[in-house]
């Protein structure tokens, strides 16, 4: 055996060494395929967005120089933006620029697209994170409650609540929320991220208003930012809650019929252990996917909510840029959203390995 082993292993490596070696190889292989998939996804996104943007029946120069610009001014702007080149050369030129880290300037704000995104994305991130927290903290317990009380009144009530969250237009819900909780009751602050009194006294550091106000050491501004966030986050949180509740409920129901649940109950395990440890533990992988999808959806920017609440977020930025044919801004924001999706996918994968030993 020893001889054979030496023959099979002429370099004299121990058994651990090839294992470590192959693990390293596996890891670098995974990293390479990950990088390749990120690059391909972003490239695909760019191609699709670029060509859709360019074939839209809107004159992109209207956004740049307006309707009344003389022809020579239009021609000059077209040359500066490369719009006089064939489509494929425009695309190559754009690719070349972004490879150098230059995402171009937004026509509408006159700022580099990255500067714009650095301002608009944190607003969306703050709102989406707060909404997802509300959605998860309420949605998962409600879904579990509905499943364990299947067919009884708590289940019926929760299903109606979730269905309403699905069916009520978020735009309408936002307006009614403002009317009741801001205009009538005065429980929350109005539209915008912070009161005008603080608007120009808080120096943006990371762009998250709650954090920036804390960093500035201004307690009153922090509370003001909090009260501005409560309502839009609750409205979007309700949307997220509706989705998470329904998914939790149906995943739980499918799992509750499994034999291991009956076995656990017959064995005399306390019900809380059966539900919260075994059943919930087993639906954790699809549930994480559900939550990640819901979060990613909100991170794209909730255009209607952002409009109603005058919340300067990414959704509003992309929509207005798209309507104005400001393609540079649309492309930049699309890349960010693509990266967010990829990031959340990776995060879900990481969480799978934590909650599911089979995935390790």
């Amino acid at each position: 055996m020893a001889v054979a082993s030496e023959q099979d292993n002429p370099a004299g490596l121990t058994r651990e060494e090839p294992r470590a070696h192959s693990a390293l190889r596996r890891l670098s292989g995974r990293a390479l395929s990950l990088i390749a998939s990120v690059v391909l996804t972003v490239f695909g996104l760019l191609v699709v967005t670029f060509f859709i943007g360019r074939v839209m029946p809107v004159d992109p120069l209207l956004a740049v120089v307006g309707d009344r610009a003389p022809e020579h001014v239009r021609a000059q702007a077209a040359t500066e933006l490369g719009l006089d080149l064939p489509l494929w050369r425009q695309f190559l030129r754009y690719l070349g620029e972004i490879l150098q880290g230059d995402f171009g300037n937004s026509v509408l704000s006159g700022q580099p697209v990255l500067t714009d995104i650095a301002r608009f994305f944190p607003a969306t991130l703050e709102l989406a994170t707060a909404a997802t927290l509300i959605g998860v903290c309420l949605g998962v317990p409600l879904g579990v409650l509905a499943a364990t009380r299947h067919g009884q009144w708590p289940d019926q009530v929760i299903r109606v609540v979730a269905l309403a969250g699905y069916s009520v237009p978020v735009f309408w819900l936002g307006l009614v929320g403002l009317l009741v909780f801001y205009a009538e009751l005065g429980w929350v602050a109005g539209p915008g991220r912070i009161d005008v009194v603080y608007e120009y006294t808080i120096e943006p550091v990371i762009g998250l208003m709650l954090v920036d106000t804390l960093l500035a050491g201004d307690g009153a501004a922090f509370l003001d930012a909090f009260w501005h966030l409560v309502l839009p986050a609750s409205v979007l949180g309700y949307l997220s809650l509706a989705y998470i509740t329904r998914m939790t409920r149906s995943l739980m129901l499918a799992e509750l019929g499994q034999e291991y649940v009956i076995a656990a109950r017959v064995k005399g395990l306390p019900e809380r252990l059966v539900i919260w440890r075994h059943v919930l533990g087993n639906i954790m992988v699809p549930l994480i996917t559900t939550i990640a999808l819901s979060y990613a959806y909100l991170l794209e920017g909730a255009v209607l909510t952002e409009t109603v609440f005058a919340w300067p977020g990414l959704g509003l930025y992309i929509t207005q840029s798209l309507f104005s044919a400001d393609l540079t801004a649309v492309l930049g924001a699309t890349i960010v959203i693509g990266l967010v999706f990829i990031g959340l996918n990776l995060l879900s994968d990481l969480l799978y390995t934590l909650v599911d030993p089979r995935a390790r």
Binding site: P57, D59, V140, W187, G192, D224, R272, A310, Y317
Partner: protein
């Protein structure tokens, strides 16, 4: 136990904020007494450089930050008064204009306003040659010759020589537009990069001597202005103005209702009626020079038939639309110069008369099956107006197919002359009849290659004789003769033009009752914040 765990989770997400709500709550509304907060849709703002700015929202802000060479009197917008120029004289039969610069005028930076600044600012507009530059380049100034024709001849004197002659009133009116803003050359040149005359820097800065200076502009979010204590007409009573971008009218309504905004600018008629029923609010209704019209493309043989055009003019329910739909936001006006403009024709001869329209269509020989497409921006009130017109045209026997698209898409199609009928909006570039006449009654080259894409060109209306008369009116020195020339042109366009001229805009702003001194004026850049006070 299971229930307890769930309740704990719920308590964390609902209970904590609820407790905070009960215990602390947001600070009370109401804007600070020395701050004016305006809720407005400002998503069109792309630059604050007076040499480039040509958007409604941007123009309004630029007007607060810069003093122009000559200004329109906020008390009577038909009168010109001095701005940076204290006085002026017309020389060589209108070939030259000389301006005496107001002494002791200072920019926000503290630099004195000099004749050199005046000449440099006007030269900069021409050299940069951005969209609004045509207002000055029409006088024959180019990047090559402008320094020769626009120059400071003494520390307090600037002279302008016109290469292309125009009526002196027209020149002065043009200089009262945004391109006539006088810029702090010393400050701007400190920020010049690669000989760009500070273009890259001034986009989101201010370098003027107006009532306010720019504090910050966050695109699609807000603009903040700070009062200039040294303003030559006296320091503004309010110290700060914040124009918040609120795209949704319902949100504007709530903000002004609650006191988080002092003025709401884009409310619907119903929202205005609701607010103004209360003594806490007041309405400021100001007719603007903006015109709503239907363009009739003459490439379509049906619309090229004068009898058909005449018939269609009798098939619009002007009064009905104003009363039932537009409710004070537009008024009937059937000529292209708005009421209040020098030389405006205020006759409105057309009304809804379906029988007359039918008779004219029968006379036209256009046949029994009349079908037209109608391009319309997909926002309110344009869609509603178009649907009403579709209805009344249908009664007259003309089938209309509505094509709703985003406004820029409609404009793209219009500029390519690919429409039949289009619902469009017009606003003059400066307060002189030439600005509008040059678009509605001027089409020097009707070929598809024509470079002056005027409104007449877009509708393929070939009018060599009228174009010549429009040009002559711009040169007429005698005010009475000039006025008569514009009246005659409007009558002709009203009766036989490639348009159905329908309405003039009335801007309705709702102010909280404690706000006074806010001036709106006839164009987008005549809005004035300087006189605002809050009691």
């Amino acid at each position: 136990m299971q229930r307890r765990t769930m309740l704990t989770a719920m308590a964390l997400s609902v209970g904590v904020p609820a407790t905070l709500a009960a215990g602390l709550g947001p600070a009370g509304a109401a804007t600070p007494p020395d701050t004016l907060v305006i809720a407005k849709n400002i998503d069109d703002m792309i630059t604050l450089d007076p040499a480039e700015c040509f958007e409604f929202s941007g123009g309004e802000i630029v007007a607060q930050m810069y003093t122009r060479l000559v200004m329109l009197d906020p008390k009577d917008f038909s009168q010109l008064i001095g701005g940076v120029a204290e006085s002026w004289e017309v020389l060589d039969d209108g070939g030259r204009l000389a301006f005496k610069i107001r002494p002791d005028l200072k920019f926000h930076s503290g630099n004195p306003v000099t004749a050199e600044d005046v000449a440099w600012s006007l030269q900069r507009v021409v050299i940069l040659d951005k969209t609004p530059a045509f207002i000055l380049t029409q006088f024959g100034w180019t990047a090559d010759n402008v320094k020769e024709h626009v120059k400071a001849t003494a520390p307090d004197r600037v002279e302008l020589t016109l290469v292309n002659r125009f009526a002196p009133t027209l020149v002065l009116n043009a200089l009262s537009a945004g391109v006539g803003s006088i810029v702090d050359s010393k400050l701007v040149l400190e920020h010049e990069a690669d000989g760009d005359l500070g273009y890259g820097w001034l986009k989101n800065q201010s370098a003027g001597s107006g009532a306010f200076r720019l504090l910050a502009w966050k695109a699609k979010d807000a603009v903040a202005l700070e009062a200039n204590p040294d303003f030559y007409l006296g320091a503004p009573a309010i110290k700060r103005v914040i124009v918040r971008h609120i795209g949704e009218p319902a949100t504007q309504l709530l903000l002004v209702e609650k006191g988080d905004a002092d003025i709401a600018r884009n409310l619907s008629p119903d929202q205005i009626a609701k607010l103004t029923a209360s003594p806490d609010f007041k309405l400021l209704a100001q007719p603007k020079q903006s015109i709503l019209y239907i363009g009739l493309n003459q490439k379509n043989p049906l619309l090229a038939n004068p009898k058909v055009r005449e018939a269609l003019r009798w098939a619009v329910d002007y009064e009905g639309l104003v009363t039932n739909l537009l409710k004070g936001q537009w008024q009937v006006h059937q000529s292209f110069l708005g009421d209040g403009m020098f030389g405006a024709l205020n006759d409105s001869p057309y009304r809804l008369d379906i029988e007359k329209a039918k008779a004219l269509l029968a006379e036209s020989g256009a046949g029994p099956e009349l079908k037209i497409t109608f391009d319309v921006p997909n926002t309110s009130p344009y869609i509603d107006i178009a649907q009403a017109i579709q209805g009344s045209f249908g009664q007259a026997g003309v089938t209309v197919e509505l094509i709703q698209s985003d406004q820029k898409q409609v404009l793209t199609k219009y500029r390519a002359r690919n429409h039949d009928m289009v619902l469009m909006y017009w606003s003059p570039d400066y307060l002189d009849p030439h600005s509008t006449t040059d678009y509605f009654a001027n089409n020097p080259d009707n070929s598809d290659e024509g470079t002056a894409k005027t409104i007449a060109w877009r509708n393929a209306w070939d009018i060599p004789e009228l174009s010549e008369r429009a040009g002559e009116a711009a040169l007429e020195i005698d005010p009475e003769a000039r006025e008569q020339a514009y009246l005659d042109i409007q009558k002709e366009v009203q009766a036989s033009g490639a348009y159905i001229l329908m309405f003039q805009q009335v801007e309705n702003s709702v102010l909280r009752a404690n706000v006074s001194g806010y001036v709106s004026g006839p164009t987008f850049d005549t809005v004035t914040y300087a006189g605002v006070t809050k009691s």
